[in-house]
């Protein structure tokens, strides 16, 4: 599946504890910071385990387990070839990659979970709930909404260009770059502008301008589990930061 497509599938609840989208975002940022605060393997493993725990509790236990296996594998690779690294450039490269991937694994896991368990409507509700200006919410949600539509337009225009023999290939970009840009952009802008007008008409006719406070069907809110997770992770990160500042690298 195209990674972007993931964004467009509405998520059902998968049995785990439900966290508010805002909690997920904050956890992601905190854990990212935490990862880079220490350098020892035990510390790294500890941060990783925290991430695994959150994700498992949050309803993606099997994914968390899979990431655990990858993490162990990467540690094993590093330990095995560590002593021989000086001997060959290939081994050094392998070790470099093993360490690099391992370092980002916790962030990847949490990001994957945050995106995978948050529906677009929940996300929008979280935006409304956090006092983001109305125009920013409209712009963001329209951008997400229109991305697939624009991709369709793009494909249609490319087909039309092919049928007319107007090159979109490398040679036309090299020899007639400006003309090529014009050929792509004139129909593209024409359709983009008509899309935006029609969309605005449809949205306004359904009361988008209503001054009444906006409400949301999707239920979000900071509950006990949110505060608990936030407090624990924040405390841990703060402690790690304190150690780092005191010069006692973990």
């Amino acid at each position: 599946m195209n990674p972007l497509e993931k964004l467009y599938t509405e998520q059902g609840h998968n049995g785990g504890i439900v966290f508010d989208p805002r909690t997920k975002a904050t956890l992601l940022v905190l854990l990212d910071i935490a990862v880079f605060l220490g350098r020892s393997l035990p510390y790294e493993a500890a941060v990783f385990l925290v991430c695994v725990l959150i994700v498992a509790v949050g309803g993606m236990a099997s994914t968390a387990l899979r990431y655990c296996a990858v993490f162990s594998l990467l540690v094993a690779v590093q330990q095995l070839i560590g002593p021989m690294v000086g001997q060959s450039a290939v081994l050094s490269l392998v070790q470099f990659l093993a360490v690099a991937v391992r370092k980002v694994l916790p962030c990847l896991l949490v990001a994957y979970w945050a995106v995978g368990t948050t529906g677009v409507s929940e996300f929008a509700a979280a935006l409304w709930g956090s006092g983001v200006p109305k125009s920013a919410i409209i712009t963001t949600s329209v951008a997400f909404r229109c991305f697939p539509t624009i991709s369709e337009e793009w494909r249609a225009i490319r087909s039309a260009m092919k049928m007319r023999g107007i090159g979109t290939g490398l040679s036309s970009w090299l020899f007639h770059p400006i003309q090529t840009i014009a050929h792509i952009y004139v129909p593209l802008f024409a359709s983009v502008i008509s899309i935006s007008d029609e969309l605005a008409a449809a949205a306004l006719c359904r009361g988008m301008d209503d001054p009444a406070p906006h409400t949301c069907l999707a239920q979000i809110g900071l509950r006990t589990q949110d505060w608990l997770a936030l407090a624990l992770v924040a405390a841990g990160t703060a402690a790690a930061a304190a150690f780092a500042i005191a010069g006692k690298g973990l």
């Binding site: 539509t149 050929h183 306004l204 006719c205 009361g207 988008m208 069907l217 999707a218």
Partner: protein, 459 residues
């Protein structure tokens, strides 16, 4: 109530006046007064109008604001700041009332045209407006979807809503519409009862642009009888298989089919039957995984088909690239000659607008401009995707004539269509499609017409 009349007669203008889009979106001079539910939509703020008047737009591509059906239905209520429980109740109620409970919680991009149209109606219905405006709701729908639409409209009517529909197609509205207002040149020139609409004669129809109420008694005579003799050139599709991804089941699988040049070939089938895929493959825009396409016995690969073929898309804006009609027609031709240009422009009635920018033309002119470009480049295979959706009777008849002329010039003319009236008026042969397969091909003689009627489920 039905608003009808030729394209450009002012139907949309009336709807825009009623839902407050004028003067919000469109500038112009306005005299007189409009009253809807005790207010004047032209001066009232848009959101107040929105509480009373719900509008369903023509283009399903752009009338959705969210990504899934449930939030879409909730959208209007959310804007009005209803409490969560109330929104939830209304969404469920709208889904139950309109019989679309099965469509809830789905990705909007995965819905068919008809399903989209019903979700759009539900999303308007959920906010509880008294007046519903629908702008050509059937324009992009196939026959089963139009029947579903009819059922939905019937439910709305039984709920006592005022419904105003601007539409060219009238056959599916019998028994739903009480009155029809005929607009001409921006004036409401006549009011018909539905029964009167049915009894219009052909010349009245050509004059008024109203499409027939009963497809059974369709009366547009052909200018030429269906061509039956062996065509000059023959296109043969053998064991053709195409799928969009390697793992998915094939979207198209045609063991054997023929098309002839000099004829107008209709390709019919419900949405998702593979008509557009077939068109893309024939034009060489998509490469077949297996099988071959031959013209007069010579196998042509997708790469060789591409320069020979041209697809006239529904959205004409996509295929216009230049600053003037003339440049547009010449673009991509290998040796442009002035004489040929004159005759092509003349044939397509574009001489008057040859210096204008293509994007400033009317919809029909844009379409003709795209066709002119194809003809000038000497394309041999012309594929039309729904050329008459949203056209009134007179323009449909015009397109029918044009298709006949193109076929007479010896090209392969393939027309993907849901338009029964067009098929009868212009086409010589029918290719039925179902589930990615060609299920039948037959000539449109008397027996063929009966068969096509059965396929569409008419009468």
């Amino acid at each position: 109530m039905l608003l009808c009349g030729k394209s450009g007669c002012g139907k949309s203008t009336v709807l825009r006046l009623l839902n407050g889009m004028i003067p919000e979106f469109f500038d112009g001079d306005l005299t007189g007064r409009v009253r809807v539910g005790g207010m004047d939509p032209t001066t009232c703020p848009q959101y107040k109008v929105a509480r009373q008047v719900g509008t369903v737009f023509q283009n399903p591509r752009t009338q959705f604001y969210t990504l899934d059906t449930t939030s879409e239905v909730a959208f209007g209520c959310e804007n009005r700041g209803m409490p969560r429980a109330e929104i939830s109740r209304r969404v469920n109620e709208a889904a139950a009332d309109l019989g679309i409970a099965a469509l809830m919680n789905r990705n909007i991009f995965h819905l068919s045209g008809g399903e989209k149209q019903r979700v759009a109606i539900a999303s308007v219905y959920a906010t509880g407006p008294e007046v519903l405006l629908l702008d050509e709701p059937s324009a992009n729908l196939d026959f089963p979807a139009i029947r579903e639409l009819r059922r939905t409209l019937d439910i709305l009517r039984s709920k006592g809503k005022t419904i105003l529909i601007a539409e060219h197609r009238t056959w599916y509205l019998e028994g739903i519409v009480d009155r029809a207002v005929y607009l001409d040149g921006g004036k409401a020139s006549d009011v018909f009862a539905m029964g009167e609409l049915a009894s219009l004669t052909r010349s009245q129809r050509l004059e008024t642009g109203i499409r027939p109420v009963k497809l059974e008694g369709f009366d547009l005579p052909r200018t030429v009888a269906p061509v039956k003799d062996t065509p000059m050139h023959e296109m043969h599709l053998a064991d053709l298989v195409f799928s969009y991804s390697r793992h998915a089941a094939p979207s198209l699988s045609v063991p054997d089919a023929q098309f002839g040049s000099g004829r107008v070939e209709a390709i019919v089938g419900d949405n998702g039957a593979g008509k557009s895929t077939l068109a893309s493959v024939v034009c060489g825009l998509a490469r077949e995984q297996r099988g071959s396409i031959e013209i007069d016995g010579a196998v042509l690969s997708a790469r060789k088909r591409l320069p020979l073929s041209y697809e006239v898309m529904q959205e004409a804006n996509h295929q216009l690239f230049c600053d003037s009609v003339e440049e547009e027609v010449v673009l991509g031709a290998s040796n442009p000659g002035t004489r040929g240009l004159e005759s092509v422009l003349g044939q397509l009635d574009l001489l008057d607008v040859r210096g204008r920018h293509p994007l400033t033309l009317s919809g029909g002119q844009k379409q003709r401009c795209a066709i002119a470009a194809a003809m000038f480049c000497g394309k041999k295979v012309l594929v039309f995707d729904e050329p008459t959706s949203g056209l009134d009777y007179a323009h449909m008849a015009q397109t029918a004539t044009l298709l006949r002329e193109l076929a007479a010039s010896g090209a392969f003319v393939l027309v993907v269509t849901h338009d029964f009236e067009l098929a009868l008026a212009a086409c010589d042969r029918v290719t039925e499609m179902k589930g990615g397969k060609v299920t039948a091909q037959y000539g449109l003689d008397k027996g063929g017409v009966a068969r096509l009627r059965e396929f569409f489920g008419i009468g």
